[in-house]
Symmetry: C2
Subunit: 331 residues, 2 copies
């Protein structure tokens, strides 16, 4: 395979992967053979990697050695990625208004399924219903992925469940804690919000053009850095475990899980996804208050129906079906 045939940055990512795997010096010749590019190309890519913030030592007799800390960028995410399409192409921003906005624009320009946007920091990170998503740099993961399922807009909420499972699974894998999902798509650890999902789409009334799944995960943010208003209801993986999470590794894990569950959704349908989602859902039996744009509903959560709508038994004994809104568990 010629380097010209690879996606941009793929050779750099491969060099990083080989150097990390070796743990010590690797000769330019070994890299050249291992990757299938000339030694001159290796040298050029090594220089590019240094400019990208990698700490690579070069010794004439021994070759190259990489050492932490590693930067957080598209090369780092690509290095060792195992997915077929999700996150295989990443647009990385040090800072942007919103990864969902960037991904949406890329979607409008025709970017393919699986293309992802990552930002180290967001100036206008958004949550559902126009809310702000706190997005400082250096600590968390903010990423948005373009998907192009052949579905109608009325089915698009099903992808919310796909995303929620992917986030919950990845959080569980990296934290060792079992998160829960608050309907429809907040991910909590010990009852505090650690991650959120914002799905947006471009569609005709009967056909989705593309969906952008935006995910924000509080990875290494410290409690003191949360705004006072959410300090007691939000958390991060670091706060819950005391362990720093490698953001690029987390992104790769998330993309793998997302691809897996998206394929299950396409192959087996929404019911298979919903059954798995229920395994992370913890509100059944709780007292909930649901705020939608036209009403507030209080009652006991009795589950979800086959469409994923929340079922709430009100004090009158009726079971109400909620397809949209914000849920607070009040007891």
């Amino acid at each position: 395979m010629k380097s010209s045939m690879r996606p941009k940055g793929a050779v750099e990512a491969e060099i990083v992967r080989l150097l990390k795997g070796a743990g010590s010096f690797v000769s330019g010749e070994a890299l050249s053979k291992g990757i299938g590019v000339s030694r001159t190309a290796v040298w050029k890519h090594i220089n590019a990697l240094k400019k990208s913030g990698y700490n690579i030592e070069a010794l004439t007799a021994k070759g190259y050695r990489i050492a932490p800390p590693y930067p957080f960028n598209d090369i780092e995410v690509a290095s060792g990625i195992t997915t077929g399409f999700v996150g295989r192409k990443v647009f990385f921003f040090e800072r942007t208004d919103s990864t969902n906005r960037r991904a949406f624009e890329l979607g409008l320009k025709g970017e393919g399924e699986g293309t992802a946007v990552i930002a180290d920091a967001q100036d206008k990170g958004r949550g559902r219903i126009g809310r702000i998503w706190e997005s400082p740099g250096n600590v968390n993961l903010y990423t948005s992925v373009i998907l192009r399922p052949l579905i109608a807009p009325r089915e698009a909420h099903e992808l919310t469940f796909v995303m929620a499972i992917a986030v919950a699974e990845t959080v569980a894998g990296f934290s060792g804690k079992r998160p829960t999902v608050k309907w429809p798509n907040d991910i909590l650890i010990n009852g505090k919000k650690a991650a959120g999902i914002l799905l947006e789409m471009d569609s005709e009334p009967d056909r989705v053009h593309f969906v952008v799944g935006g995910i924000g995960v509080n990875l290494n943010m410290r409690k003191k850095d949360f705004p006072p208003a959410i300090r007691e209801i939000a958390t991060s993986l670091f706060e819950e475990t005391g362990v720093e999470i490698d953001r690029a590794s987390f992104a790769r894990g998330l993309y793998s899980s997302m691809e897996l569950w998206y394929k299950i959704y396409l192959d087996k349908g929404f019911q298979a996804v919903l059954e798995a989602w229920k395994g992370w859902f913890s509100s059944v039996g709780s007292t909930v208050r649901v705020t939608s744009f036209d009403r507030v509903l209080e009652g006991v959560c009795v589950g979800v129906d086959k469409d994923g709508a929340l079922l709430v038994r009100t004090p009158s004994g009726n079971v109400e079906r909620v397809i949209s809104g914000d849920v607070d568990t009040t007891g």
Copy 2:
């Protein structure tokens, strides 16, 4: 009212309206008083109008006189517009890829409800399901309007019916012919397609951010200029009536009708719209073939249900409900 408080182009539009209304010379002083700006400002705006393609004669003793032909631009559309918000702000392009694309981008940037885009010609005019919409310059109307109803994506198709009524009404008013609507939103004259509608939206799964309603109307296009593939199934108002249609007037009429029916939709709900739409719908009793992305259905159209879904009685006697697809009347 100071001119600085008016939208860009509003004074020019007012001058054009007054000059057209007078039919002869109007003094600079009369314009100055009539509009409430200085005579110097009138003089500057007249010069701007000349640059915009207006044919304005100035005689020292008599003032200003306007004469046809009038250009097709944002000033011409604004001149005499009577709506409250639809089309009150127009982004006009001599040529663009697609008015829906431009309006979508404007929507993402936060442009308000009613803002419209018009292009004299489109390079990538689009119809439903990714089809091409023939969009030569100088002859037709291509416009897209941003709406921000507080609805869920599953309700967005209802706006298709709002748009269809608006287009049908305006076509009827300008052509003197009674058009019919092919489900859900093609407008036909004598059975041939004269206008089409493409609705797109930006949304979360449970909440529409905005809808872009794109409308293409074949006004003055000649039969010989249609591509051979559609020459026998498409038509224009000119071909059906022999009369040239003023595009700016048509746009103003369309915006008025759209605003009216959009308000009815918001105030009285979809059923009121659907009832009016049925008055333009002509397929009941016809044999139809419906092509959707997962099936082809043939049968007799027996109407639409309360959601606007097409009802088709198949040869087996079952009545199938169609929410998406392309309908051909075959008998």
